[in-house]
């Protein structure tokens, strides 16, 4: 299952400036990364780079290294282009209308809050993990959670491949988001109870997702009034 597009129109603004800006920033940083990290950089320099720019729970707990800066830098970096593409696609699908409900600047602050919350939960659960984490997925899960709260009845054009023939029905946003939430829970619990590591920030995803409850602190007044009035935001 892969979300392709949100088929509903915007209500308050005509263009998702901040969503596009975030996609552009993430893409630019990924494209510019080889300038800092050429192929022949060597293992140690690459490791050094990760220790400076990726988010490492063990360093955070020990108050060593870059601290909060790594939380921000890791939010704009990705492991590879596939990682970037899937994240940015999801940001485009779910971010556009969440930004519409908040306004550009408040959306940015919410996005950062979701990213920081993702890192915070990761640090709480995996406090002893020396593995550096990277990616915008924590923040994007926050955006997805916000989408679920604001537009549970919205329709998402989703690519579904059940057999050989692909299909792209318009599925209720609630089901799409809950599906993505569901696939995080078992690996996250496995990490918690057995210490298994999948190389994916499942707890970051959950941390971001749960931070979606804060979306109500960022909604524009009209959208907030609509939410309280039980009418489509």
């Amino acid at each position: 299952m892969f979300p392709l597009n949100d088929t509903e129109p915007n209500r308050y603004s005509w263009f998702p400036f901040m969503t596009i800006f975030l996609i552009a920033m993430n893409t630019f940083i990924e494209v510019a990364k080889p300038l800092y990290l050429p192929d022949d950089i060597g293992m140690w320099r690459y490791w050094e780079f990760m220790m400076h720019f990726y988010y490492t729970p063990k360093l955070i707990i020990a108050t060593e290294g870059p601290g909060i800066i790594s939380s921000f830098t890791s939010m704009f970096m990705h492991g590879n282009f596939a990682h970037l593409l899937t994240n940015m696609w999801a940001l485009w699908v779910f971010g556009r209308r969440v930004e519409d409900a908040c306004g550009a600047w408040r959306f940015l602050i919410f996005y950062l809050l979701a990213g920081i919350s993702a890192d915070l939960l990761t640090t709480l659960v995996m406090y002893n993990s020396p593995r550096p984490g990277v990616g915008a997925s924590g923040a994007i899960f926050g955006v997805m959670g916000a989408y679920l709260l604001l537009y549970p009845a919205g329709r998402i054009r989703t690519l579904v491949i059940l057999s050989i023939v692909p299909a792209w029905p318009r599925i209720r946003a609630g089901w799409v988001v809950l599906y993505f939430l569901g696939v995080q829970i078992i690996p996250a619990l496995t990490i918690l109870f057995s210490g298994e590591n999948y190389g994916v920030g499942y707890w970051a995803h959950l941390g971001g997702f749960f931070s979606a409850v804060f979306i109500f602190l960022f909604l524009r007044p009209e959208a907030f009034a609509r939410y309280l009035s039980d009418t489509p935001v």
Partner: protein, 344 residues
């Protein structure tokens, strides 16, 4: 038919209780014979209104000045006329009260129509003008009402202030509609937008007003609740301090007791105040800040004032963040990158 036949028929009609027919016949008699005393005597009792009855008495007295009974009757009618005049003045008070009841029943349009009639009858009634000012949507009508009140009572300072305020709204009428919206008076705001749209004609101004009309109509159809601006300011002031607290927690290794950094925590009130200023600048509602800091009498903030407050807000929010980033850089100076085998 001569006047005597008409008089006979008129008397028969009067005696048999057909007053309207009798009155018409007596009027026909005096048209043929203007000095017919008997016809005028009957008309002094049958005519309506009071003024016509008095005129009939005067005709009788001019024909026969010795008619004492009619003289007494005329005096009684004159007294009645005086009393009616007083009653009419107090009657306007009652009518104004009736207008208030209309308003209480939600019949604003009827109330306004009735009030306009009252003001045509007596345009020196202060309460009626006050009510008219409060009920009328048109800014020009409000200004007219307040000017009329000041002509009646030039010492009323509150009305003088209101007049000044609405004269300002005459220049920026959309501001008044926005204020109505802010107070949750959607109907009033919508009505004002419609009046303004009608006055605007074609062009970008009309487009702007039309968008507001559509927006408010949608809100009405959807039955959107009114949220007080103060609540929205409070709500929107929380997000940034929350973000900052989480950042400081991460910077302190989630353990502020073991790794205390009071200089970072001092930033919290700063971020809170900055966030509050940003919310005030963003909400565009009345607030004491606009009144006290910028002397804006309507307390809604000019564009320049809002930009100033927003810039100050960003300054207060970003300064502690810069300190936080500085703290990170200081830490990086002494950071020894752990060896790769550190990863298990």
């Amino acid at each position: 038919m001569n006047s005597e036949d008409l008089l006979r028929q008129a008397l028969q009609a009067a005696r048999s209780g057909r007053e309207l027919t009798a009155r018409d016949l007596f009027q026909d008699v005096v048209r043929i014979d203007p000095d017919n005393e008997l016809a005028w005597i009957w008309l002094s009792g049958l005519l309506d209104p009071l003024e016509d009855r008095i005129t009939a008495c005067e005709r009788v007295l001019s024909i026969n000045p010795g008619n004492q009974q009619i003289r007494v009757y005329k005096d009684r009618l004159l007294k009645e006329q005086n009393a009616t005049h007083h009653k009419r003045v107090s009657g306007i008070d009652e009518k104004v009260q009736q207008v208030r009841w209309y308003v209480e029943d939600g019949k604003r349009d009827e109330a306004l129509l009735f009030l306009q009639k009252i003001l045509q009858e007596d345009n020196n009634h202060k309460d009626a003008w006050l009510l008219f000012a409060s009920l009328s949507v048109s800014i020009n009508d409000k200004v007219r009402a307040y000017e009329a009140i000041l002509q009646i009572d030039s010492s009323d300072q509150a009305v003088r202030e209101k007049l000044k305020r609405f004269k300002r709204f005459q220049r920026n009428p959309l501001d008044l509609a926005a204020l109505y919206e802010e107070d949750g008076k959607l109907d009033k705001a919508l009505e004002l937008y419609r009046v303004l749209a009608a006055e605007a004609g074609d062009g970008p101004e009309f487009e702007r007003i039309y968008k507001n009309i559509v927006r408010l109509e949608d809100a009405k159809i959807e039955n959107v609740r009114h949220i007080r601006p103060a609540f929205n300011i409070l709500r929107l002031s929380i997000g940034l301090p929350l973000l900052y607290i989480l950042e400081v927690l991460i910077q302190e290794g989630l353990n502020p007791i073991r790794f205390p950094a009071p200089d970072l925590w001092i930033g919290i009130p700063m971020v809170m105040f900055g966030s509050f200023l940003l919310a005030v600048a963003g909400i565009r509602s009345r607030h004491a800040i606009w009144k006290r800091w910028f002397g804006d009498p309507d307390g809604k903030g000019s564009n320049m004032a809002r930009v100033l407050v927003a810039v100050s807000g960003w300054g207060m929010v970003l300064t502690p963040h810069l300190l936080l980033v500085w703290d990170s850089f200081v830490r990086l100076q002494t950071f020894q990158v752990p060896f790769i085998p550190w990863v298990r």
